[in-house]
Amino acid sequence: MMETLERRLRGMPISPGIVIATVKVEVAGSTAPGIYSIRRCEKQAEWDRLEKALCRTEVELNELKARVEHMSGADEAAIFDAHLLFLRDRSIMSKLHVEFDARMQNMEAVYYAVVQNFMELMRRVEDAYLRSRVADMEDVLRRVLKNMAGEHHECPSSRDKQPHILAAYDLSPSSTADLNRDLVRGFVTEAGSTVSHTAILARSLGLPAIVGIEQLTIEVKAGQEVIIDGYEGLFILNPSPETKEEYLNLRAEKEKAYKALALMRDLPAETTDGRHIRVATNVEFAHEYSNITASGAEGVGLYRTEFFLLNDGNMPNEEEQYVHYKDLVEACAPEEVIFRSLDAGGDKLPFERDVKEDNPFLGWRGIRVSLSRPEIFKDQLRAILRASAHGKAGVMFPMISGYTEVIRVKKLLQDCRDELNERGQAYDPNLRVGVMIEVPSAAMMADVLAPHVDFFSIGTNDLTQYTIAVDRVNRRVADMFRPAHPGVIRLIDQTIRAGIPTAICGETGSDLNLVPLLIGLGATELSVGVHVVPLIRYAIRHLNYEECREMAQLALKAQDSSAIKKLSREIAIKSYPNLFH
């Protein structure tokens, strides 16, 4: 028999975790119902069947809404309000009456045709948000048809008694909420984006998930064994025994560590020789707030404001931003929340759609956009300042390349403080101000920048990309992307030696192999994904700072990334072996 080969597909990780299981494939969309003619005397019976199906669907949707409300709050549950209104919409119903009388066909066939018709109209609406509501209608249609068939509506997977991974072209928010949590251990889809409702719901359900996997529904076969690596966005078909073992280990590591670590939430993140390292978390979505304190994180080291600002194609104003930021600050008080000002390419701004650049990563993005649109920038700064009055907040700026930008940013920040004084609105005068170090020139100029700011935060992903000049999503050069490259490590060292508090907020900070190196170089803070916080704190509590320092000095003289990684990993394995096995 021929051996089945391992295949790896990539997508966007939307919810972390590792699952190994067999896969079930869900055929997407509603299939057109059969068509047959009916007689005049059967008309009332057809309407009765429809009414029954609508009632049953209404009950289902209300149950679903209550469930989501319970899990994720009223805001997420409001998604289903539109579903409920579609169900008995007067435009749909009156069209249905006309068509039913004209066609004299079975109700599901007419209903299907009418709703398809409305969906088609909806797809042509200019507004992207409204267009995306087609998925909601499709969802309602699918449920009504199922209920008309007399078959009790089942979620896609409840027939299957084995725990499994669900693969589908797309999952609507309601089928995500519907998943049988005892059996479905994770899901993958071909469509979808990291900012969809589905993504948000997956996280609140705690299901590892990947979306946006190209060719998924073609590649995957039902019943195959698969692995979801929800950390890396990797979906592995027919994993080889080695891969499987690797992932079993990885999963065991995460689970074991978590269990041990849940107990240590209140212990300080201190090395064995008493150096305190702030372990904070990176946050993007509002619904992650509740996990922050549970993880034991000391506040938020990086709040990415892009999702909130750009999510629905309309930038919130100062007041809206203030309310949003204030909620986060209050949720984390007395710990500090560091807000990063808008860090996006100019093409992501709703009012600058026509920006086309040959080299967007070297182009108009991050602070460059903010500085050239000062009114929008100041809305954000004032909102952050005002939020600082409700707890402890800091602000930092992305893509800083040198001194002039720092001075311009600080001037604008001062203008905002003056304006708030005039308005008589409160802010914290001690709000910490920092810059991201992710452009090599900023790292080299760290000693010049340091007197003007309170802290640095090193974005290791961008710093690595810009230092080695390698795009890690370009498959031809991706293997050159090495965060432990000596060039990168020396820039980190140079930054920290400027002598002000320095955080690491990129992925390197959550690489357990490299934590000893970062501590040894003198990083004072690691800001990592909320799920990694307990691991990193555990690691720090088992490290000796002096030993790490000596190792870091050797690493700075090393010739290549593998030598550096080896030095750091030796200490890591010795100090916290149970995070590796």
Binding site: A78, D81, A82, L85, F86, D89, R90, S91, I92, F118, L121, M122, V125, E126, D127, Y129, L130, R133, D136, D312, N314, P316, N317, E319, E320, V323
Partner: protein, 88 residues
Amino acid sequence: MIKKQLTVLNKLGIHARPAAQFVRTASRYKAEVVVASDEESIDGKSIMGLMMLAVGHGASFNITVDGPDEEESMAALVALVENKFGEA
């Protein structure tokens, strides 16, 4: 029958959520509601209709309310639009 011109004040215009609120409010009264913008007019008690009308921020539209409780219905709808559908 009463008629009134209104302007959409909330930032996102009448998208799914405000449309849902509008339909629910209109449906609380007996009076029929017609919403018109430019040359199109739709049933104010239909979410499909409202969403297809796609009224954006700053656009103005006419509401016509007709029925025994038209005064109350109009007052409730005007309040909803003027309060920006409860959005900030």
